[in-house]
Amino acid sequence: MMPPLITLTLNDLAIAVKNKSVLLIIFIPFFVFISLKLVDQSGRNLPKATVGVVRSEAYAPGMIRAMKAAGTLMTLLPVTDEAEGMQRLRDKKIDGLLLHSALTRDRFVLVVQKKEAVQTLVIIESIATLQQVVEGKGSSWISEVRATEDGGIGKQLLPTWILMLVLLVGFIVMPAQVAEEKEKKVLLSLLQTPMGEIEWLGAKIASGMILSAVAIATLHLLSQDKPENILNYVLFILLGCFCFCSYGIFLGLLCQNQASARTLGVIFYLPHLLPCALADYSPQLSAYSRFLPSYYLIEPVKALLFTNFSMSHFTPELLYLSAVGVITMTFSYLLIKKRWLLS
């Protein structure tokens, strides 16, 4: 006879399999392993960096020649002026921008997004090596490294925390709430009132947006970090909240119960969060994260936190997030309208 302890343990494991929680047990280690593998650069050739140079700037001829010759280490990309260079830096078209130093003659300022990023290290290391080869001993061509995302570690991490909050509400809170209403048939009862499917969806999205917005506002109040352009920043955050709440509602409607909604939520949560949070440390993750909607939220949030870009700079991101929100909302509407998977 099997002891009750073993019987119940087996029953609990069976429940974990049935409500798909076991997928998390397999998925999370597997996903973390892949992410860390992509972040870990040891034993790998350093990635090639792209450096922007302003056409009108008077760079040392030896430096430019050497940088052009070192084609395996870096590529030079001429830009019209500093503004264009900064825009390309934000768009990640270049990894660094060389500007003339106002303080030291024949020395340059390297502008990068993040000082700790792999590409920044590659540029500094490559230029230092080239300088050694061309000039031998002497003061470095780069007198200063300036980051566009500067403001202490707290402010630099803020976009990641914001993305985490938006994704938490979108992928964990919303699917579970929707699945609960589905499971208890409250959704069908609500649809027996004069309220329409669009109103139900609108109310759900609004509640999710409010939850995310309150969390982000609290985070800002506590950290005392303010974006450069508050209006644009708020609009972008709200658009991101709309996108991920709509996405989460759709996931919730696909699930039969709360347990499976939570599992599915986590399965979507981590792959949307980790690659974007670690993108600066791995070109591979950076390339992968461009396929995710979360990338189109975190990048403008970073830019708006540290610079004073106008909304017109973010038209592709705006369109992408809106499209994801509207498409998932349309799918949710169809599921409810056709009463698919509702009972």
Binding site: V186, S189, Q192, P194, M195
Partner: protein, 266 residues
């Protein structure tokens, strides 16, 4: 008391009776009072709704007249709940149509106030109080808040108005569920196994309610497995077998037919 409301048997179980007293005492100001209930007809044409495993409804057609009290019976999996949920708009049919006084049930805006569906398991926000649930649905139905007081009073829920639904007994939750459905006072009421797994007293209470609703002119369809319930309540019996309508007649003819026994044995 309006002439169509019979005096109820069962003493303290006459919950629906109390509504009349409450309204007669001048408290009732809800627009669609008992006297103004307009019963509706239901027309079902070649209705089909199939699930995986060939379960569901094969083409069935019948008409429900105003003021009927119909028991839909059949074995488990015969299609009773599917039929009721399709009439209520919880399911969309694969083919065929359900018309409520000429309006298709898919036209929600037109029929939503005409049909009230009480599912077998109460679908309520169980983390909230009875009053919260009623208030929420009253707002969605745009019924005046005075109607909440009426429902709380009619269904003997006043002592439980601040109780959290998940802490209530099964019978009380069923009462809240029925009360919520009655907020908009629909002329057609559909009950999916209203007395399933309820004790004797609560069952009798719900029977009294059904009689009261019927006496007030409402059209009622319910599913049941209980012969006593069918005999004492129904004015018409419909039997479904494997998704097909196999009997449609009076309770007397049903109980004297050979269809009765196998269903109740199951």
């Amino acid at each position: 008391m309006p002439p169509y409301i019979p005096a109820m048997k069962g003493g303290h179980h006459g919950i629906y009776h109390r509504r009349i007293d409450y309204c007669n005492s001048g408290n009732c100001n809800y627009q669609t009072d008992l006297a103004t209930v307009v019963p509706m007809t239901i027309e079902i044409h070649n209705l089909t709704k199939m699930y995986a495993g060939s379960r569901g409804l094969l083409p069935i057609s019948f008409t429900v007249e105003k003021g009927e009290l119909i028991a839909v019976i059949g074995h488990n999996g015969a299609g009773k709940s599917t039929l009721l949920k399709t009439i209520a708009g919880w399911h969309l049919p694969d083919s065929g149509s359900v018309l409520i006084d000429g309006d298709p049930v898919s036209d929600r805006k037109k029929v939503v106030r005409k049909i009230g569906f009480v599912p077998e398991l109460p679908s309520l926000f169980d983390a909230f109080s009875v009053e919260y649930n009623l208030t929420l649905f009253a707002r969605l139905f745009r019924t005046p808040s005075s109607r909440i007081e009426e429902v709380l009073n009619e269904f003997d829920l006043l002592p439980f108005r601040y109780s959290v639904v998940r802490n209530l007994s099964k019978g009380l939750r069923q009462r809240v569920s029925i009360g919520r459905t009655l907020l908009a006072d629909p002329p057609i009421l559909i009950f999916d196994e209203p007395t399933s797994s309820l004790d004797f007293d609560i069952t009798r209470e719900i029977h009294d309610m059904l009689r009261g609703f019927h006496a007030s002119g409402k059209t009622i369809i319910f599913t049941s497995h209980r012969p006593d319930e069918i005999r004492s309540l129904a004015t018409r019996v419909i039997i479904l077998r494997k998704g097909l309508l196999v009997f449609d007649g009076s309770p007397d003819s049903y109980f004297s037919s050979k269809d009765a026994e196998p269903i109740h044995i199951s």
